[in-house]
């Protein structure tokens, strides 16, 4: 299995599209940093204007932790798009290139072959989130320094002491890797249906946007469904920035997301094992 994963990593990282995500975040994050640096404390002032009359704030509130948390909001749609570029190409790309005829005529089971591809997709997803984490925290702390974190939730503002923040961010990025893996699994599933990568990318983004709308619409009709939609947990990372960690809520989010991972992968396996390779 390790050999299969090694081959899949070779294939994936030999493609230009794999680097689009890394290049994009490597360009966008420093640009965002520069813009915020140029803006100065204006951004944090605007965000805290409503509470400035009630609270007297001291210290460096516009710091690297705040910037890193701000960048995590790109995990809604932007980063998923970059992930689908690779995940949507994993099976469809091989079908389009005709390379299934090179690999699947060998004495290996399709399930092992598929798992190696899926595992590689998850490695790519995790790597992209880790690069985002390193860039945003590294550059953020270097340029803006450390301090307490003002975390903006739906109806509240939480201020977390800087001593807590490293562990909280590690938890947040772990949850982000999981939620991005669900998106990658969906693109991977769509990739098993077709012979070109464009379809899975568009289909994944369409599903994501539709479900995000449903997850965020304050309408009673959808309330019963929301806890079961994976998009409801797209911002599971924000659970790491609550004043007191709610492990029950985190566990429920993790369970739902893992259920989706298993479900999407099982469906892909079912399709791929029966698939006729005609290209």
């Amino acid at each position: 299995m390790l050999l299969l994963i090694y081959f899949e990593l070779l294939k994936t990282f030999s493609k230009w599209r794999t680097y689009i995500g890394f290049i994009t975040v490597s360009v966008v994050i420093p640009v965002v940093m520069y813009a915020l640096y140029y803006e100065g404390g204006g951004f944090i002032n605007a965000q805290t204007r409503s509470i400035q009359k009630e609270f007297f704030m001291v210290g460096n509130l516009f710091n690297g932790w705040v910037i890193a948390q701000l960048i995590m909001n790109s995990l809604w749609v932007h980063i998923p798009f970059l992930i689908t570029l690779v995940a949507g190409d994993q099976l469809a790309g091989e079908a389009a290139a005709g390379t299934f005829r090179l690999s699947l005529i060998r004495p290996i089971s399709r399930s092992k072959f598929l798992f190696a591809k899926y595992f590689t997709t998850l490695i790519y997803t995790a790597l992209l989130v880790i690069v985002i984490a390193l860039l945003s925290l590294g550059l953020g702390l270097y340029f803006f320094g450390s301090g307490d974190l003002i975390a903006f939730a739906e109806n509240s503002i939480t201020i977390l002491h800087e001593d807590l923040l490293l562990n909280r961010f590690i938890l947040a990025y772990a949850l982000a890797i999981l939620s991005m893996s669900v998106v990658a699994s969906l693109a991977f599933l769509f990739s098993s249906f077709v012979e070109n990568a464009i379809g899975p990318i568009i289909a994944t983004m369409a599903v994501l946007v539709c479900l995000l709308v449903i997850s965020n619409l304050p309408v009673d009709l959808f309330e019963n469904y929301k806890p079961y939609l994976f998009t409801t947990y797209q911002n599971a990372w924000s659970l790491a920035f609550k004043d007191i960690l709610d492990w029950n809520e985190i566990s429920r989010a993790v369970t739902i997301m893992i259920s989706y991972l298993v479900g999407f992968y099982s469906l892909t396996l079912l399709i791929f094992i029966k698939k006729d390779i005609l290209t």
Binding site: F7, R101, L102, I105, P107
Partner: protein, 308 residues
């Protein structure tokens, strides 16, 4: 020649929606054979080969390779098999060497030795291009790389689907010689699917002709061609008069009028008597030849199918 069957298709069927691509396909390949698998375009050759490699699931039936069912025990069945299915495609962003590593690694379960990779590349004349990315390779080079990856891991059965496509005449000759060498010196069994009939005639020992998804004939090439040995083609004028003369001759079994010639079925020893007969009746004979090429045989088998 060995009588051990190493590949057998058993009532193999494949239906795509309402169309049967392969119908009740039964053929056997013996150890050491160079098995020519012939058929016109769309006859079902590639579908059959894809089912042998388990790329396509049969609607019904099975393929046994070295006694293992491809449907039930795909990994065991394909352990000693390699090949090219249609045109060889590779991971274009990787080097030829890396592609060979992947192809060999998937078969062996470990990365093949550099020596074996280089040896295979050397056989097809690509040793000096091993570090080049495949995306800069010409079609002919990819074809040769396809053969190199098929030779890696010392397979006992090689299935080659149109292996000389895109090769220049020298390359085609080299591949033919290689196939014969593999069979004679290494005891490798080869299934050769090709539309180039003269190519198959030069190398194949046994063959099957498939048309409309069904096997029309199969057997030893020399036997099948000898079945055809009594067919002679005569170029003669006036044709209608000659037809009548030949039709009433007791020496001729069957006469048929072709576009420009007359085809007769008779023993070769009767030809001088028939020529004298035609000459005495003031018919001008321009040429007589025995119809025995594989192309003639192939056309007679597949045109029978069309008439049916």
């Amino acid at each position: 020649m060995s009588t051990e069957t190493i590949l057998r298709t058993i009532n193999l069927n494949k239906r795509f929606k309402k169309r049967w691509a392969v119908k009740n396909l039964n053929f056997e390949v013996k150890r050491g054979d160079i098995f020519g698998f012939l058929g016109p375009n769309g006859a079902g050759k590639s579908t059959a080969i894809r089912m042998i490699f388990s790329l396509i699931k049969p609607t019904s039936g099975d393929v046994e390779i070295f006694g293992h069912s491809v449907r039930k025990n795909h990994s065991q069945a394909l352990q000693k098999v390699a090949g090219i299915v249609e045109k060889p495609d590779f991971y274009l962003n990787l080097t030829a060497y890396r592609n060979m590593q992947i192809a060999g690694g998937l078969t062996l379960g470990k990365i093949p030795s550099s020596k074996s990779i280089e040896h295979s590349l050397q056989i097809v004349g690509l040793a000096d291009r091993s570090k080049d990315k495949v995306k800069i390779f010409s079609h002919g080079m990819k074809q040769r790389l396809g053969i190199a990856q098929a030779l890696l891991c010392n397979p006992e059965l090689i299935i080659l689907d149109e292996p000389t496509n895109g090769l220049d005449p020298q390359g085609m000759k080299d591949i033919r010689e290689l196939i014969i060498k593999l069979s004679k010196e290494n005891g490798v069994t080869v299934i050769l699917s090709s539309h180039l009939l003269h190519e198959v005639q030069q190398v194949a020992t046994r063959m099957a002709i498939i048309s409309h998804g069904e096997i029309r004939v199969q057997g030893l090439v020399k036997d099948l061609l000898s079945e055809n040995k009594d067919i002679h083609v005569i170029s003669v004028t006036p044709k209608i008069k000659a037809m009548k003369i030949l039709k009433f001759s007791s020496l001729v079994n069957k006469v048929s009028l072709q576009k420009t010639e007359i085809e007769i079925s008779t023993s070769h020893k009767n030809i001088p008597k028939l020529l004298t007969l035609l000459s005495e009746n003031k018919c001008n004979v321009f040429s007589v030849y025995q119809k025995q090429t594989l192309e003639d045989y192939f056309l007679s088998v597949t045109s029978e199918e069309k008439l049916l």
